[in-house]
């Protein structure tokens, strides 16, 4: 495991708080009664993200963090996302979901790339419900993604899912020496952070994990949770689980909602079941107790 601690205050990013942080946008009603959610993202560069204690990654960010904020809407809401490009490179936002071609955030189609200093508002209805993501689609794509321009986009079904303790986990990785291979793997950026600071849950309570794979350079990533099995809702587009298992694998941009309850108290590991990724940082611990604190 890595030696030392990252400086959360200096970085302006706390992986533990990120797990449960949702941005619902500025909410208002449109004349027809449709809910409008307005989000604002600023693309910027020069943020040194401490991806492992003492290892600084020169990231490109939406709103200053990697991953970017988790945006959350309800099925059918009108979503408006305004992007300001405050960096020196062109950027876009490409949302996964239904939308018109000119809202696709791809270079050369519709508004396409936003030059430095430009602003654009992406507008669409939040459909279909499920677990999605957004990321920059400017070229070179590999670099724009792996530099950190990605976030989770959750569309809740009209009839809400059961009450649960919810966590967002983006499986990501970083190539620090530009050799096309990752030196650091993690969920939510910081290697081994949840191993050093376990995620606390209550015994028997419903735990819901929004799991997104945004790992660059490696074709797949995976998760295995110890001492437990979980229901899998692939892409979150159905309310019926497709699978009951303890390990799943996702390719890049694939995602799944996992639901589980811990029957026993204690510390339970979760990690990529590619042991190489595990030992390069993608490992954490759930701390299960009767009071959940």
């Amino acid at each position: 495991m890595t030696v030392g601690e990252v400086d959360i205050a200096r970085m302006g990013y706390d992986p533990l708080r990120f797990l449960t942080n949702f941005d619902y946008g500025k909410v208002s009603k449109l004349p027809g009664g449709q809910t409008l959610r307005e989000f604002r993202l600023i693309a910027d560069e020069g943020r040194e993200v401490e991806i492992a204690p003492g290892v600084f990654f020169p990231a490109w960010t939406f709103n200053g963090t990697v991953p970017a904020p988790t945006l959350r809407a309800r099925e059918g809401d009108r979503v408006k996302v305004t992007l300001l490009n405050a960096s020196s490179h062109p950027h876009t936002i490409h949302f996964h979901g239904f939308h018109k071609a000119e809202m696709d955030g791809v270079p050369g189609i519709g508004r396409g790339d936003l030059a430095p200093g430009e602003t654009f508002t992406y507008e669409f209805d939040a459909l279909p419900f499920g677990l999605h993501l957004y990321h920059c689609h400017s070229a070179p794509l590999k670099r724009h993604i792996h530099k950190g321009l990605y976030g989770t986009f959750i569309i809740d079904p009209k009839k809400a899912r059961p009450q649960a303790r919810e966590f967002v986990m983006m499986m990501n990785a970083f190539d620090t020496n530009f050799d096309g291979e990752n030196e650091v793997y993690a969920v939510n950026t910081v290697a081994f952070h949840y191993a050093k600071h376990p995620i606390k849950v209550r015994r028997k309570e419903l735990v819901r994990i929004y799991l997104v794979n945004i790992t660059e350079f490696d074709p797949i990533n995976s998760v295995h949770i110890h001492g437990n099995f979980f229901n899998v809702y692939r892409t979150g587009t159905s309310l019926k689980p497709s699978e009951f298992t303890d390990t799943i694998m996702l390719c890049q941009a694939e995602r799944a909602i996992l639901e589980l309850r811990f029957p026993f108290a204690g510390r339970f590991m979760f990690h990529a079941h590619q042991s190489e990724f595990t030992e390069l940082g993608w490992m954490g611990i759930f701390e299960v107790s009767d009071d959940g604190v």
Binding site: M1, G54, V55, T176, N177, F192
Partner: protein, 385 residues
Amino acid sequence: MASKRWLFGLLPLVLLIVLVVLLFRFGPLGVFRAAFPPVEELTISRVTLETGHMFIHITNGGPEPVTIAQVLIDEAYWQFEVDRDRTIPRLGKATITVPYPWVEGETHEVRLITSTGLTFDHTINVATASPRVDGRYLMTFTLLGIYVGVIPVFIGLLWLPFLRKLPDRWLAFFLSLTAGLLLFLGVDALNEALDTAQTLPAAYQGTSLVLLGTVITILLLVAVSRLFVAGGDPVRRRFALATLIALGIGLHNLGEGLAIGAAYSLGELALGTFLVIGFTIHNTTEGLGIVAPIAKERPRLSTLVLLGLLAGAPTIAGAWIGGLNYSPVLATLFLAIGAGAIFQVVYELLKLMIRDERAPAVVYQVAGFAAGMLIMYLTGLFVAA
């Protein structure tokens, strides 16, 4: 008048100092600092092993300080401690201790990751516990040195009676053969020196170090031989030449000893075995080279023993140094000195050959020179095997 002359001698120096100060304070050097990220350079000079632990010895040979952020062994982040500050200054050294259950006989990959995310790698080809300095260890390496350096050289010296009975033209052949094999050894040593120089941190300027070691050795030996070898007595000159050859071979054998010791301490055991057998065969020819110039004289036995020791014993010292504390800087320097010593001897031999104006000799000389290099090439195949 004299003081005025000194003044003019110093003036450019003073102006240079002023220029450097001005450049630092007001010059456009900021462009270098602002425009480029720091180029980090870290050299893992060696990794030593003891049960359950690895010790990574590093040198910062780059222009900027380097901070060790994390250590990976076999692609896994691992616990580690640095024996001083984790930020290594320019030309600073440090040792990183890693508690790691390494496996005897297997390969391990060491990777250091710095604060900027750059990585520096080292491969432990065959893991084995690093030798400890004790009597048994010193004994082993002394024996190795004797087997590789001393005994073969003495075996080679036994060609003396054979040489003595040869007609002049055949003696010319063997003298040239000596020059051929020495030239081969010299190029070999120079090549080794340049190879080792490549592993040094950039700040040590490995190639220039080889140049310095080689040329200064040549210059020193030329001066020494002018002082002692020159002079009317041809017999004395031949003995001095034999001594110089023995010294040159000795310095070269020091390099061989280094290679054997280092192969052992770096865990390249298979390589070490081949080196030992190869050098043993190779070195027998060196004895021949020493006695060739004095074949017609009647050297005393004690003289021969001294010459043999001068050529062979440095192998022992080399094996000690290489095995106990493998330092690429020292190795480069020793190999360069060895190369220089040999080139100087080749130069002396060539002078001797050219002065030999007896008519039929030139064919024998050419054939001998070629044969000398061929022999080295062929016996060298054992080292490479």
